[in-house]
Amino acid sequence: MSTLITDDTQGFGPDNPAPRIDPPRARTRRSPRATRTNYEMYAWVFMRLSGILLVVLVLGHLLIQLVLDGGVSKVSFAFVAGRWASPFWQVWDLLMLWLAMLHGTTGLRTIINDYAQRDGTRFWLKMLLYTAAAFTIVLGTLVIFTFDPNIR
């Protein structure tokens, strides 16, 4: 009628029970430690606000780049140079770059915090993430502001 537990090869018994398997990162008497900062709240609010802004910025960007005025075939060096001559598009692209990078970084940080089990793994994944984000933001900002259409 039913299968019984028969695996007693390791000799477990009332005086020798199997070891407890606690879940990873279980709550202990000393955790979670209070940090007394509003950082998590600011990160949460930033995700919402930047998300709303990004909907406008990214959809507008996609519309201009891919749909209006002959679609993607018009995008060339001259087209980009022409747009970045105007401070409005410089600010648009700068805002989009910063918000998208910080939004994505905060999101990935959340995922790493949720899924990385060991403290070391979590720390190094986040360091990798922050380095990559900082590199991209610095490089992108540099390009937007120092862009010179007169290359020869």
Binding site: M1, S2, T3, L4, I5, D7, D8, Q10, F12, G13, P14, N16, P17, A18, P19, R20, I21, D22, P23, P24, R25, A26, R27, R29, S31, P32, A34, T35, R36, N38, E40, M41, A43, W44, V45, N113, D114, Y115
Partner: protein, 258 residues
Amino acid sequence: MSSTLTKPGPGPEAAAGTSAAAHKITATFRIRRYDPEVSDKAVWQDFTIEIDPKERVLDALHQIKWDVDGTLTFRRSCAHGICGSDAMRINGRNRLACKTLIKDLSPEKPITVEPIKGMTVLKDLIVDMEPFFQAYRDVMPFLITTGNEPTRERRQSAADRERFDDTTKCILCAACTSSCPVFWNDGQYFGPAAIVNAHRFIFDSRDEGGEQRLEILNDKDGVWRCRTTFNCTDACPRGIEVTKAIQEVKKALITRRF
């Protein structure tokens, strides 16, 4: 009166007996068994029993424990959905065994019964609830006031009572917390149940410890880890809008800080 007795046929007791037996169906319960004194591995064990589908899963567990296998271990106290002892994962969803009718579980297929997830299994369906209650204690679930004791009861308007009415229904069964994927991954998270019980006092007009509780829940493992997956709201056997309560705590934090 006597004319009704002229009809021959089985007596009322016999009729009730046959109809009760006819009501019964054969249902298979696939139960997650674990006994550290026998093996370090958890296994599925099937029990096929005859039972009325209008009975509850808890009745089936009783029948198995009393008539088939006395080593089956589970918690239950009141058996009427108030004490919150018998939360378990039935057919992949967290429910109270004493509030789940067998007919609602498509009993033609095996009904799976597991311990709630995210906590250490001690034996069969019993888990170590200590981390859960530790999180509960950490939000200070008691009245905090300043000043002298009033000489009569602390009065409250019906509207003020209504403000936190939903979260007073919690029975601490841990169905919500153990359905939360953030809690599964990281037991440091306070979990829905602790936040619900903090909500119950934060929004109580008689309580003055709201700011302290908000400060506790503002931290790394507080409300901001909630991903609004609504697992907790779906799991709650009392129908508490758990995710809404968590969002209200978030809103209170934001409006007080900005």
